[in-house]
């Protein structure tokens, strides 16, 4: 039974990682940049939802929608102000700018909400499901998280496969210049990608804080790094890869926490990542890169 409950916890945590990783992977696939500020967008989303439910007494669903709207605007603003002028710059310059944006968001949050951790009351108040004579308790948070993850995954896949904008995204990620020649507005496509990624980050923030209810300005950074790891793990740039990587990472983390060592759990997660990358240098579902001379 402990095995099953660990597995469920792992999948639930992994689903949160997967949702964050989707944001990383989409942005990487299209803009070819590591958006280190993504983790802090998660934190902003969680704070917005927290404020909406605690201070404004809004219903949970409305608070999530509000968080998504704020994060979407924030994501598009960050992209337009900080990343757009650097479209032709080296990837390292963009990376440092992203780090600057990350510092900026953390410190603005610090000024607005203070450094004291806030206790995030779960927005999903439905109790839990008990199975096998109370031996296996599944919280509704995990069920909602996993369901949300599946819905997002399906919706995103449909979006990139079927819709016009989704096709444009795939074209831009394949070849930016050729896409532009075909009449695709590259700038708009990149902005939309950031908008989607940031909206997902808001959902992830709310789900993350519902399961682990401590909210402070640095809340987003560690899950951000781990989700980024998950995206690389599954093959960065690939949507199913991010999903698979996120869930595997969550399961590995929970299992090593309960069976090996709590303190060494992160080390084990990263060690698995290194081994996977050594065997498959572009991640589990990553495309093989062919080099031209």
């Amino acid at each position: 039974m402990t095995f099953l409950s660990n597995l469920i916890n792992g999948i639930s945590l992994g689903s949160v990682y997967a949702i964050i990783a989707l944001g990383y992977t989409m942005v990487y696939g299209i803009a070819k940049m590591l958006n280190f500020a993504h983790g802090d967008v998660i934190m902003v989303g969680a704070y917005i939802s927290f404020c909406a439910t605690t201070y404004l007494n809004l219903p949970p669903v409305v608070s999530v929608v509000l968080a998504m709207i704020v994060c979407t605007v924030l994501g598009v603003l960050i992209e337009g102000l900080a990343y757009k002028p650097l479209r032709k710059a080296t990837s390292l310059a963009v990376l440092i700018t992203a780090i600057g944006v990350s510092y900026f968001l953390q410190n603005v949050a610090l000024l607005i909400w203070g450094s004291n951790p806030k206790t995030f009351s779960s927005i999903i108040r439905l109790g839990s499901v008990s199975l096998f004579d109370n031996k296996l308790i599944i919280t509704t948070e995990s069920i909602v998280t996993v369901l949300a993850c599946i819905v997002i995954m399906i919706a995103l896949t449909m979006f990139t496969k079927k819709s016009k904008m989704g096709k444009a995204m795939r074209a831009v990620s394949e070849d930016k210049d050729a896409a532009e020649l075909m009449g695709i507005n590259v700038n708009v496509t990149i902005s939309v990608t950031f908008a989607i990624g940031s909206a997902l980050a808001a959902i992830a923030g709310v789900l993350l804080c519902s399961a682990y209810p401590v909210l402070q300005p640095t809340t987003g950074s560690m899950p951000g790094i781990k989700a980024f790891t998950a995206a690389v793990f599954g093959g960065i740039g690939s949507i199913p890869g991010a999903m698979l990587g996120g869930i595997l990472l969550g399961i590995i983390e929970i299992f090593s926490k309960s069976y090996i060592s709590t303190q060494l759990a992160d080390a084990i997660v990263f060690a698995v990542l290194i081994i996977v990358l050594l065997v498959k240098p572009t991640g589990i579902l990553g495309k093989k890169i062919t080099e031209k001379v």
Partner: protein, 360 residues
Amino acid sequence: MNKLKNLNKFTLTNIQSYGIVLLAFIIIFPLQKAGMLSNQISGLLVPTCTYVVMAISLSLTVGFLGELSLGHAGFMSVGAFSGVVCAACLQNSIASDPLRLLIAIIVGGLFAGVAGLVIGIPVIRLRGDYLAIVTLAFGEIIKNIMNCLYVGFDKNGIHFSMTSAEALGLIDAKPILNGPNGAQAITKISTFTSGIILIVVALFIVLNLVNSKTGRAVTAIRDNRIAAESVGIGVTKYKLTAFIISAVIAGMAGALYAMNFSTIKPTKFDFNTSILILVFVVLGGMKNIPGVMIATIVLYAMPELLRGFANYRMLIYAIILILVMLATNSSGAKQFFEKISSKIKKGENTDVQNGGVSNG
């Protein structure tokens, strides 16, 4: 000015780099001896030296080798804790502080070098962002392991444990490394002079390496790996060499850094520290060593000098960081600067011509 231009680039970089160190030493050393520095500034001296060494070391990996490393603080951590353990063990056998510091720094460098070898072998096989993420992963692993490492020293020798301080079974002694609490009761033996000497050593190693046969091979690999391979340069060997040297220097810096504080925790050397050093290197101009040194001094001191702004200081730091990156890298800003520089050049040219005419 013309004489400076005639010197080759290597000599010029050398003069500039060593000049900065010498200048800093000449200005600060007498002030420190005369007791004219405030506690805040004298407390910043050794850490600034350490970060300058770290930046020089990372500049070798990022600037010359062209590989993004996001886990450089990991090597600093290995160097710091092995150095602390070494210094604590030698406390009674070697009375001279500088000698003990020297040995600790060398041991720190050696351990970090071994870590560099262990990490380098898998890492060097990967490329680009994947290499970056693996260095990040290794940095986190080192932090995690240091968090669980207990080391003690008594009359029976050194004891290691991965579980708890009690498991060390120490007799009449306190653990040197105490898991998440890190190293406690360190004898502070780092001095500003030792920091300056370490910078000079690091500069000597890196500047000479870059201008050696190995250094040219490394730059060739950075610029075009396939072309370098086709003219018979062993990519793995040279990359690994540069990576290990970088790790050794970082380890030495770590040992110096740790010995400046009475306690130091493993979490000090986390992802944020790695990023901080990377920011110094990138803003300094990657392979421009004098630039990297100046950027480190300015950027490390800036948050401290902004203390008057209290909570706003890191916000200001973030905004300055973003604006500097936008100003130096965006296409719009580049055109703007090119316009200005071409105007200035035009002015200079006419000056020279006029001068030529009047002289004639």
